[in-house]
């Protein structure tokens, strides 16, 4: 089965969408195509471990992953989450329902825990600009991404939570930040004052 999951690539101060296409068919090989850098290529081993340690099975099929657009530089570990979700979805373990309205980023630990990524704010800005309804980010990045409004920003600690959320078995907490109120409240709250000099 062929599925698409949406991630993003940070280039300078902006982000560009990356479509992770995963196809599962008969066989037992794993291919990753579409100009990923070494860190992304190495993610294969990490994703296998994360999936198996999260209580799922890595599919015993031939898996082909394409990251598009192919000419876009892709670096870092932020694609772990869309890759893992894509592999499970191609194996029909994740419902496709929310996938096309959702962008996600996150690095995975071997036990399936999500690790923070760089550039969550530009990714959130891009997600809203492209009309995505949901953005899933590691819990540590949730407040910076939630600066963007008109976008549902969800933080997750573990891959399991993301799978259950996408399958409608569980909810993730939406993080809503009253950015302006917080901003103006902290603006003149300095630790040091010239009165001491």
């Amino acid at each position: 089965m062929l599925v698409k999951v949406f991630g993003a690539s940070v280039q300078g101060l902006s982000a560009l969408p990356v479509t992770v296409e995963v196809n599962a068919s008969r066989g037992i090989k794993f291919f990753l195509v579409g100009l990923p850098d070494n860190a992304v290529k190495e993610s294969h081993e990490r994703i296998v471990a994360a999936i198996e340690n999260s209580g799922y099975r890595f599919p015993t099929k031939q898996i082909v992953v394409n990251m598009a657009p192919a000419d876009l530089r892709k670096e870092g570990a932020g694609y772990d989450l869309p890759l893992a979700i894509g592999i499970l979805a191609a194996d029909e373990k994740v419902s496709l329902d929310k996938l096309e309205r959702t962008m996600m980023i996150g690095e995975l630990s071997l036990d399936g825990t999500l690790q923070p990524v760089k550039g969550a704010l530009p990714v959130a800005i891009k997600a809203r600009e492209m009309g995505f309804e949901n953005l899933i980010v590691p819990e540590q990045n949730v407040r910076e991404a939630a600066v963007v409004n008109q976008l549902k920003v969800f933080g997750a600690n573990h891959m399991n939570q993301v799978v259950r959320f996408l399958n409608g078995e569980d909810v993730l907490q939406i993080t809503d930040v009253d950015t302006r109120a917080e901003f103006y409240a902290q603006q003149s709250n300095f630790d040091f004052d010239f009165a001491d000099v």
Binding site: V10, Q11, G12, L13, D37, R73, E75, G76, P116, V117, K118, G119, A120, L121, P122, I125, Q140, R143, E144, A146, V147, V177, T179, R180, E182, F183, Y184, A185, Q186, Q187, S188, N189, F190, F192, D193, F194, A195, D196, V197
Partner: protein, 296 residues
């Protein structure tokens, strides 16, 4: 800021963000994005609410200072975007690191090119630095004796190149307070009061440049605007001319002195730049003179 150990240089630098005009929302978004991309945002923070104050250690590398690397990352100059970059103990920084600062100070952005792509990070920051006057620290000290030779002092000061010094508009000697003065003096003016004065001067500038696209403050004036808005009378012109010769100032320093004089006049709420504004601005060019260390 040049002065002996313990005279309060670091103390004052740390307080600078508290007297700068507050960040606007759009400035904050720029700065927050840079910190987000660098992975340097505090977890409980959404938008950065205060101007950043970055104070890199003098052992910092070129790449960490201005940005770069295999997967290009913003450097300290960009993390300081819309805020303050403080180089404490400036002569301790390696010469090559100090030299790479010049371009970003001028361009207010950094371009990092790789074979297949390039990225640009903004870096519009206020550059603040501190140093001791000599290796032992006590040159020109009211109580303590300096043990350095003139040659040592000279070499120490010349670690800061002319072109870098040229870009420093306010060069101030800090003299230490004695114990009696420290314990006697009433609390100084608080940051909020100073900030109001700064904002008033900024407002005057906003109004003056209302018709000039992309110009909001004196620093952004071009030479034509300088002639119009910082025009000098005959006496001031003569004063500046003789200072230029005496201090051997560059054309860049000339423009910069005029901008500082314009700002001093704005802080006073004065329509024209007068002789005493100019004299004060020239006075902040202390270190430009080659004989700094030879003065009595």
């Amino acid at each position: 800021m040049i002065g002996p150990p313990g005279s309060g240089k670091s103390m004052m630098a740390k307080r600078l963000p508290s007297i700068l005009p507050p960040l606007s929302l759009s400035e904050s978004l720029e700065t927050t994005q840079i910190h987000s991309v660098a992975g340097k945002l505090n977890q409980d923070c959404s938008l950065i609410a205060q101007r950043p104050f970055r104070s890199p250690h003098h052992t910092i590398s070129q790449v960490a200072l201005v940005g770069g690397g295999q997967n290009p990352q913003p450097g300290e100059v960009s993390l300081a975007h819309n805020g303050v970059l403080f180089c404490d103990e400036l002569p301790e920084f390696s010469r090559s690191v100090l030299e790479v600062l010049r371009q970003p100070l001028e361009d207010r952005q950094i371009n990092i090119s790789r074979a297949k792509y390039s990225v640009t990070y903004p870096c519009s920051f206020m550059f603040v630095a501190s140093m001791n006057p000599c290796p032992c620290g006590y040159y020109n000290h009211p109580q303590k004796a300096c043990v350095c030779t003139p040659g040592q002092i000279h070499r120490y000061l010349h670690k800061i190149s002319g072109p870098l010094l040229d870009r420093i508009d306010l060069q101030i000697e800090i003299t230490p307070l004695s114990f009696e003065e420290l314990s006697r003096t009433a609390p100084g003016e608080n940051s909020a009061t100073i900030r109001e004065r700064v904002m008033r001067a900024r407002q005057i500038q906003e109004q003056r440049y209302a018709g000039c696209q992309g110009v909001h403050c004196n620093a952004q004036m071009n030479s034509r605007m300088l002639r119009q808005y910082a025009a000098l009378d005959e006496q001031s012109t003569e004063m500046l001319r003789s200072a230029m010769t005496r201090l051997q100032l560059s054309a860049r320093a000339y423009d910069r002195i005029l901008k500082v004089a314009r700002t001093i006049a704005d802080l006073e709420g004065c329509e024209n730049v007068l002789t005493h504004h100019l004299a004060e601005a020239i006075g902040y060019r202390n270190l430009d003179r080659d004989d700094w260390a030879e003065r009595g």
